[in-house]
Amino acid sequence: MSGEPGTPVGRPGTAAPRGGGTHGGGDTQGSGTQGNRTRSSRIKSTRTKSTRIKSTRIKSRRAKNTAPSPRQDRFGTVAHHVLLRWSVLVLAVGVWEAVARAHGSVYFPPPGRIARHAYDLWFSGPARHAFLTSAAVDDILPSLGRMAAGFAVAAVAGIVLGLAVGRSRRAYALCNPVLQFARAVPPPALVPVFVVIFSFGTPMQIASIVFSAVWPVLINTAAGARNTDPLRLDVAAVLRLNTAERLWFVVLPSALPRIFAGLRLSLSLSLILMVFSELLPGTENGIGFTLTDAQTRSDLLTVWAALVLLGALGHLLNTGLLAVEKRLIGRGKAL
C-alpha cells in the first residue's frame, strides 16, 4: 500500500555508488554493493551509538546518587576505543616517517617535515589572527568560504526539493529517472559546463559544488520523506495539521536520519569539487590553487602539506556534521 514498487530502483542507487569516498579520511572507493554495505552498517553503528548515549543520559539523570563505577567502566571502554582507533594512524605515520627518512627521497618527505612546513606556511601567524599566516588567510579561507556557500545552498535546496519530491507520489515517479541520471554523472565532469556558463572564478566554483552536492541530499531526503511511517501520517491527518505543520513536525523529523546520510555524502563531494574547481586555470587563490602552484614549482613539500591539510579538513568537517547529527537525532528520537 505504501507504494513500495518504486523503491527497488530508487533505494539501492541513492547513495551507494558514491559511498566510497564519504567519510573524509582514508576510505577506499568501493564498488556499488560494497559501498552500500559499508554505508548501511555504518548507519547501524551510529544508531546504536546514539541510542547508547541516550540510555546513559537517562540513566545518569535518573540515578544521580548511585555509585559512579559503571560510568568509570564506560570511560574505560571509551579510552580503550580511542586508543584502538588512533593506534593504527600513529603506527602508519611512524612507519612512514622511518621509511621516508631511511630512503631520503625528495618525492616522499617524512611527515615530520611536512607538518613543520604546514605550520610555517599557515599556522605560525600572530595570535590576533588566530595564528593564521597571511598565506592561510589568502588560501584556506576563500576555499572554505566557497565550500561552505556551495554546501549550504546544496543542503537547503536538496532538503526542500527532496521533501517536495518525496511527499508526492507523482512528483517522485516523474523526477526519479531524471534524478538517477543526474546523480550518475561524475560531478567533476560537469565542471567544464559551468566553466562555459560562468567562465572562471568564484561563481563557477560555487555552482560546481552545488550541482554535485545537491543530489545525494535530494535523493536521500526524498527517500526518507517517502518512507514516513503511514501511522504517523494518519496521526497528522487526525490532528488536522496543515501541510507546513505536517512537514515540520512529522515528515522532516522522520526523514532526518536519511537526510544526514545524504549530507555526509554531499559534504565530501563539496570538498572534492572545491579542490577540483581550484585546479583549473584562472583561479587566483585556494587550497587547490596552492596545490597546482606548488606542483609547477616542483615544491613537493607544499604539495604534501596541502594534501595533509585537505585530509584534516575533511575529517574535521565530517566530525562536525556527525556532532550536529547526534545532537539533532539523539534528542528524543526513538530510532
Binding site: 491527518a237 487526525v238 488536522r240
Partner: protein
C-alpha cells in the same frame, strides 16, 4: 449517565452508518454495515482479529474514503477527517512523536485552534494532570512506561474536547494491571465529559466492562454485525465487583459466543 440511552436522548445521533462497505481490491472487508450511535454512548466493537474493526474505525475517522454507503457524524456526511474528532491508536510508540516532549505532543492539536503558545502549554498541562501525568510534561515519550505513553496519547486526544472519540484497541499491548487502570480512566473521562466513544477491542471482557453497548462483528471476509447488545450494568463500575456480577458473566458469554460464530 453512561447507562443505556433513554428515550429522550436517542433523538440526537452522534454517528450514523448506512450500508457501509469497504474493500481492498477484490477483498471485501466490510459489508452492508448499518449502525447508529446516540450522543454520549460508549460503544464497544468486538470481533475476531482481522475482521475489519480497524478499517471500520478508519472509515469513520475519514482516513479511508467510504466506497459504499454513507457515514454521518452529528448529521454531517464524512468526507475528510471531521472537526472535533479524536483517535487513540493502539501503537502509542508510533502514534506519539518521539522528537517532541510530552507537553508538545499533547499541545500539537491545539495549533489548529489558534491559541497562543502559553495558552497551548497551560491547556496541555491541565489535561496531563487530569490523566494522571503531572510532572512529565518536559520528558520525552520514550522515557515513560507503556501505560504512561498511552495516557499521553489519551491526553492528546482529549485536549481538543472531541465530541467523538475513536479508540483502536488502545490497551491491547499493555499489561493487565495497567490496562485496568486505563479502563477506569476512560470510564471516568466518559462520565465527566459525556463524549461519544467508539472503542474497538478484541478483548470480550473489556468490551462488556467498559461499554454501554457492545457490537460484535463476524469474521472476515465481509464483516457484518452479528450481535448488538446493550450492557445493563450499574453505571459505576468496579474492576473486582462488576466482573463478578452474574449479569456480567452472562453478557460476556453472549458476546463470546457471537464472536466465535455460535448462534445465541
Amino acid at each position: 449517565m453512561s447507562t443505556m440511552s433513554t428515550a429522550g436522548r436517542t433523538t440526537r445521533h452522534m454517528l450514523r452508518l448506512s450500508a457501509v462497505g469497504q474493500h481492498y481490491g477484490d477483498h471485501q472487508v466490510l459489508h452492508d454495515l448499518t449502525l447508529t450511535v446516540p450522543a454520549g454512548q460508549l460503544l464497544c466493537v468486538v470481533g475476531p482479529s482481522g475482521c475489519g474493526k480497524s478499517t471500520l474505525l478508519r472509515t469513520i475517522a475519514g482516513l479511508l474514503p467510504t466506497r459504499e454507503g454513507t457515514v454521518e457524524i452529528d448529521g454531517t456526511p464524512v468526507t475528510g477527517v471531521p472537526d472535533r474528532l479524536a483517535v487513540v491508536f493502539q501503537d502509542y510508540g508510533r502514534s506519539l512523536l518521539p522528537w517532541l516532549t510530552v507537553r508538545d505532543n499533547v499541545a500539537l492539536p491545539l495549533r489548529r485552534q489558534g491559541l497562543g503558545r502559553a495558552e497551548r502549554r497551560a491547556e496541555a498541562d491541565r489535561i496531563l494532570e487530569r490523566v494522571g501525568l503531572t510532572g512529565t510534561a518536559r520528558r520525552h515519550p520514550w522515557q515513560l512506561s507503556g501505560g504512561m505513553q498511552q495516557r499521553v496519547a489519551i491526553a492528546r486526544a482529549l485536549v481538543c474536547r472531541p465530541t467523538l472519540l475513536l479508540m483502536d484497541e488502545p490497551f491491547g499491548s499493555l499489561d493487565a494491571q495497567t490496562r485496568e487502570d486505563l479502563e477506569d480512566l476512560l470510564l471516568e473521562v466518559h462520565h465527566t465529559d459525556d463524549t461519544t466513544i467508539v472503542f474497538v477491542t478484541h478483548d470480550i471482557d473489556e468490551s462488556v466492562y467498559v461499554g454501554d453497548r457492545v457490537v460484535a462483528l463476524s469474521a472476515a471476509p465481509a464483516a457484518r454485525i452479528v450481535l448488538d447488545l446493550p450492557v445493563d450494568l450499574p453505571g459505576t463500575r468496579d474492576q473486582i465487583a462488576t466482573r463478578g456480577l452474574p449479569e456480567f458473566v452472562a453478557l460476556r458469554a453472549r458476546v463470546g459466543r457471537a464472536v466465535r460464530g455460535q448462534t445465541t
